[in-house]
Amino acid sequence: MDTQLDLWEVFIQKKDGSEHAHVGSVHASDSKMALQNARDIYTRRNEGTSIWVVPSNYITASNPEDASMLFDPSTEKVYRHPTFYVVPAGAKQI
């Protein structure tokens, strides 16, 4: 019998304004416990300013077998990258 609690994925925001990045997972029986466990496992050394937890079974993942269909077509199309434009002086983040 599987006696583990439910699995939750943990996302941490490193500083205000930045994105929440996936850092790992925790076991927990409810969302509060998941947040507390995530806090105690992943933010003990000043790693974050915000935590998201998501039940792992709510995540739909692509099938590795589909990788060539999904991702290969973009590899040879340089025109998809905005490399033909001159970046205006002063625009630091594009």
Binding site: L5, D30, Q36, N37
Partner: protein
């Protein structure tokens, strides 16, 4: 008027509570019910030990005999410790551990909230940090009380048993002595007796929502204000202080 000695003793009280409670929680390292809770408990243990370090360091300065926080932690005898008795009791099972954590963290949350406005700047600064930790310990144990209290028959029985075990040690938390009263009069320490109604107001609804009955206790344990402890403190110290006792001033 506050005496030097009274302040020193009060700092030992604050530091020893952190040190002994932290040591007890650290015993759960590798013994938690699940990996996540194992890490959580040891994390909370480190909060307590950090707090102990700050208070004992300051205690050493106030004492003025050149003793460091390590000297005070590892080279004092049982009768010179002033932690509340509840801190030194064995963890018991996980439900007992949670019951104690709820009792202690709710008390500490109120204590450190009060100490944030202490006229002693060092105590106020340490309290400002500790109150955030205590709040988290309180939330963490409160949520576990709900889960265990409203969980299965077995988890409820164990949680009720935990509160039954520890309740007779709750009276001492609010005990004042002459030194504590003098410090409270000067605005340096908190009036512990005045915290009791606040504490009950904080804890009672949580117990009610967890289907836990408040134990009927005729006699409250006491002693730590005078350095009188249960038989458990000596065992903790013999383990905690072993290295310094066997190899004085050993460093690594």
């Amino acid at each position: 008027m506050t005496t030097h000695n009274a302040l020193y003793k009060y700092l030992l009280f604050l530091g020893d509570n952190g040190l002994i409670q932290g040591h007890r929680l650290s015993e759960l390292c590798s013994n938690g019910p699940i990996l996540e809770e194992d890490l959580a408990m040891t994390n909370l243990a480190l909060d307590h030990i950090g707090r102990a370090q700050a208070f004992l360091k300051y205690a050493g300065e106030v004492e003025g005999k050149g003793r460091t926080e390590d000297d005070l932690a590892y080279k004092r005898g049982e009768r010179e410790f002033y932690n509340n008795l509840i801190a030194e009791l064995p963890n018991g099972d996980f439900a007992c551990t949670i019951a104690r954590m709820l009792i202690v963290s709710s008390f500490e949350y109120l204590l450190f909230t009060a100490l944030c406005t202490s006229k002693n700047a060092t105590i106020a600064a340490i309290a400002a940090k500790a109150v955030k930790e205590a709040k988290y310990h309180f939330i963490h144990s409160r949520d576990w009380c709900y889960r265990l209290g409203k969980g299965t028959e077995e988890s409820h029985r164990r949680l009720q048993n935990g509160f039954n075990e520890f309740w007779m040690f709750t009276g001492e938390l609010f005990e004042m002595d002459a030194d504590f009263a003098a410090l409270a009069n000067d605005g340096i320490s908190a009036d512990l007796a005045a915290l009791k109604p606040q504490w009950l107001a904080l804890v009672q609804p949580i117990l009610a929502d967890s289907n836990i009955a408040i134990p009927n206790v005729d006699y409250m344990q006491t002693g730590s204000r005078n350095g009188i402890h249960t038989e458990y403190l000596g065992h903790i110290l013999s383990e905690m202080q072993y290295l310094q006792r066997a190899y004085p001033d050993a460093k690594w």
